[in-house]
């Protein structure tokens, strides 16, 4: 994991002798299998999204986008991401600092717990909040008595989104900061910096690309989450519908063109995410070294 050379990602194409590579026909077959498989499973669905979105022409596309329900879905998705992503950034940095900079008992266990949300079904991630805050939930009665609304409203959607995007930033930063060690910070401290200055002027610049990488993935998931949000949202049109939920509603109303119009925005977001991610890997591969391989 630690050696940046291994992760340089260049293909091993230097002087391959016949003995250590496949015969030309075998190579051709493997290449064809790869392209066919990726073409059918990845490329075709992507093309379908844009093809269906523009099937009824550009005016229908813009009309679907300016629909008030669509606009409020876009606003809600941006709002939810704007709250949940920064909170997870603060958590990610904080957890990475504690785990990477210090040796303490139970560290491995804590690291495992942080990854927990990845192994829980999104539906269950939503369900746990329903059990907690719902009318029959553990805190439901108390919340109702105090007039606090969490479920089927924005706070519930934000909570479910935080749950499913919880590990992204932390799991990028922890291996990166562990690899970089404490030397730079110790030098800064011995030169008279306080802890905050050491973090701000030394650690943060060291991990900025790794941080950006984690934020990118966190944001993509936050804006695209469906299962968890679907359980807690209540599907109130124009109020608690995020973009992915709006896609579902439109699709189930047999309004495929409009559904794919909203879907095309999300697909565009996914493509932008992939491009930025690839650029980061190409330019700052060494600084993301710890992140390669998952």
């Amino acid at each position: 994991m630690a050696d940046p050379e291994i992760k340089s990602y260049a293909p091993h194409h230097e002087s391959q002798s016949a003995a250590v590579t496949e015969s030309r026909p075998a190579k051709a077959v493997l290449m064809i299998v790869t392209f066919a498989f990726l073409g059918i499973f990845l490329l075709l669905p992507l093309i379908v999204v844009f093809n269906e979105a523009f099937a009824k022409g550009l005016s229908a596309y813009t009309e679907a986008l300016t629909n008030p329900d669509t606009r409020s879905a876009i606003h809600l998705t941006l709002l939810v991401a704007a709250i949940s992503v920064p909170l997870n950034i603060v958590f990610g940095i904080s957890a990475a600092w504690a785990i990477a900079k210090f040796e303490f008992k139970g560290k491995a266990f804590l690291t495992t717990l942080i990854d927990l949300p990845f192994s829980v079904s999104p539906v269950i991630s939503g369900l746990v909040y329903v059990l907690l805050f719902g009318a029959q939930g553990l805190l439901g009665g108390w919340l109702k008595a105090h007039g606090i609304v969490i479920l089927f409203a924005v706070p519930g959607i934000v909570l479910a989104t935080i749950f499913v995007t919880f590990p992204f930033v932390a799991r990028e930063l922890i291996p990166l900061m562990q690899e970089q060690g404490n030397g730079d910070e110790e030098a800064a401290l011995s030169l008279g910096a306080n802890g905050w200055q050491a973090f701000w002027y030394v650690t943060l610049p060291n991990v900025k690309w790794g941080l950006l990488y984690g934020v990118l993935l966190c944001n993509a998931r936050a804006m695209g989450e469906f299962g968890a949000v679907s359980v807690v949202s209540g599907h109130i049109r124009g109020l608690t519908n995020t973009m992915p939920l709006h896609v579902e509603i439109l699709y189930n109303e047999y309004n495929a063109a409009a559904a794919f119009t909203v879907a095309s925005l999300l697909a565009g977001l996914a493509l932008v995410t992939l491009v930025l991610k690839t650029l980061l890997e190409m330019r700052y591969g060494a600084e993301l070294a710890a992140t390669r391989g998952h």
Binding site: K7, P11, H12, H13, S17, A19, V20, T21, E22, V33, T34, F37, L38, F41, L42, L43, L44, P45, V48, V90, F91, S94, W97, A98, F102, E103, K105, L113, I114, S119, S121, V123, I124, L127, V130, L131, L132, G134, L138, L159, L189, G195, A220, M223, G224, G227, V231, M243, P244, E248, Y251, F260, A263, L266, A270, L274, K277, T278, R292, G293
Partner: protein, 283 residues
Amino acid sequence: MTTAPAKAGWRFRQPSVIPGFGLTLGFSLAYLTLIILIPLSGLIWRSAALGWTDFWAIATDRRTINALEISFGTAFIAASVNVVFGTIVAWVLVRYNFPGRRIVDAMVDLPFALPTAVAGIALTTLYAPNGWLGSLLAPLGIKVAYTPLGIVIALIFIGLPFVVRTVQPIMEEIDKEVEEVAATLGANRFQTIARVLLPGLAPAIVTGFALAFARGVGEYGSVIFIAGNLPYKSEIAPLLIVIRLEEYNYAAATAIAAIMLALSFVMLLVINLVQTWSRKRYG
């Protein structure tokens, strides 16, 4: 934090000149507890409060069993398909140089980045009887959309990057000399791959399988559009949880969720053991 050692020489943490341990660990633990641990314990507490008879009645309900079988079965098939094709894709990306390799490599992450609902409606449109692929398969009598086969297709899409991204870095680390030695000793290429390379890749392949499988079992968004969602036939367990919730049957939703969590946990444990075993055996 460093006070109160339980016994002589026991320290909660090693001394360090770096500040901020208490603050960052405290905040991280509080956040983790509030967002993840308390809600998840709530689920476990609620299912424990059900009582054994009720729990057993829900667990052995025909519809519950079928939904779990469908979820775990389709996830198993999809992860197996991904192991085969994902390993081939990783091999081509690591070993062969071709124009656009970088783009193809980036494309592999599409299922991570594309929202599941978008993938769901796109795959459904593709495989519907009048879709681009569905219309090709219909004359052959193969129905994909609105059948369990559709679930498998969606889960192949979702799981692919898990296998490729787990196997790829290990392939990059393979020392070419090992292959040269095998070839020098008279192994043909097939023998080298089957007897020398694959055993070394086995732990990574098993891990990739486990990740794809675990993700497939819990997957919801991409599946519900293409599945058809017929009870007993093409209804996945996460959907049954949602249906029970919509019926305000919290008990059933909780029980199914607890069973899913427990089964996934056991599966991962088994796969972990297999992994340890194969690592010991093949180094």
